[in-house]
Symmetry: C2
Subunit: 122 residues, 2 copies
């Protein structure tokens, strides 16, 4: 329970840049669902309501909106495969999602650790 810095001392300038960069990141991938949608697609393409089932609690509206957003930003691709006559839509991750690997895994690690911590507290 003693004071500490985040590892090494940092200049004020670096600090400001970091604040801005993190702000930029959150602007794009912040929010309740975006990252989780990407994770849900990380083990292969999924169809719209496979995603809905995988992400317990998301509504069709939000899923639809977020998917469009993720498409626009180059994280995800929508594929229409019209086998025979039935419409079949799948979503898959694009290359650029891969750049989020560190973000996602560090959040995963931290979340896991934190939950363990608060569960053993009470």
């Amino acid at each position: 329970m003693h004071e500490c810095n985040l590892k090494d001392p940092i200049s004020d300038q670096q600090c400001v840049e970091m604040i801005n960069a993190v702000g930029d990141a959150l602007y794009v991938i912040g929010g309740k669902w975006k990252l989780r949608i990407i994770i849900a697609l990380s083990n292969g393409k999924k169809r719209f309501n496979e995603l809905q089932k995988a992400l317990k609690g998301i509504s069709a509206r939000v899923l639809s909106n977020d998917l469009k957003d993720l498409e626009l930003n180059g994280f995800v691709r929508r594929i229409e495969r019209s086998e025979s006559t039935t419409l079949l839509v799948e979503y898959e991750l694009l290359e650029y999602s891969h750049s989020l690997m560190n973000v996602i895994s560090s959040l995963n690690d931290w979340g896991t650790m934190h939950k363990k911590k608060i569960m053993h507290k009470d």
Copy 2:
């Protein structure tokens, strides 16, 4: 522009756990300002309105609320130093903030990269 997974194939079970863990993390450190407040404190203690200046755009109300929240979760400590007769308050990071290092630096890296990318696009 080809399909890809986030590195190695992952089981459905791992995928669900990841979705939940990231959800847990976002629940605590999500939002517009929390992480940025921690960054702003990463190069040393700061007073309330030093923080306000460092985080361009944050309002006193939000800063006050978020600081209370961060205190409650063990990231930050409020120190009252009553030198002579004047009230002097400082905020400093606690150990636990250190556990966010990877989260913050990966968001920093990604945000920096992404901004560079979209700036060279148009």
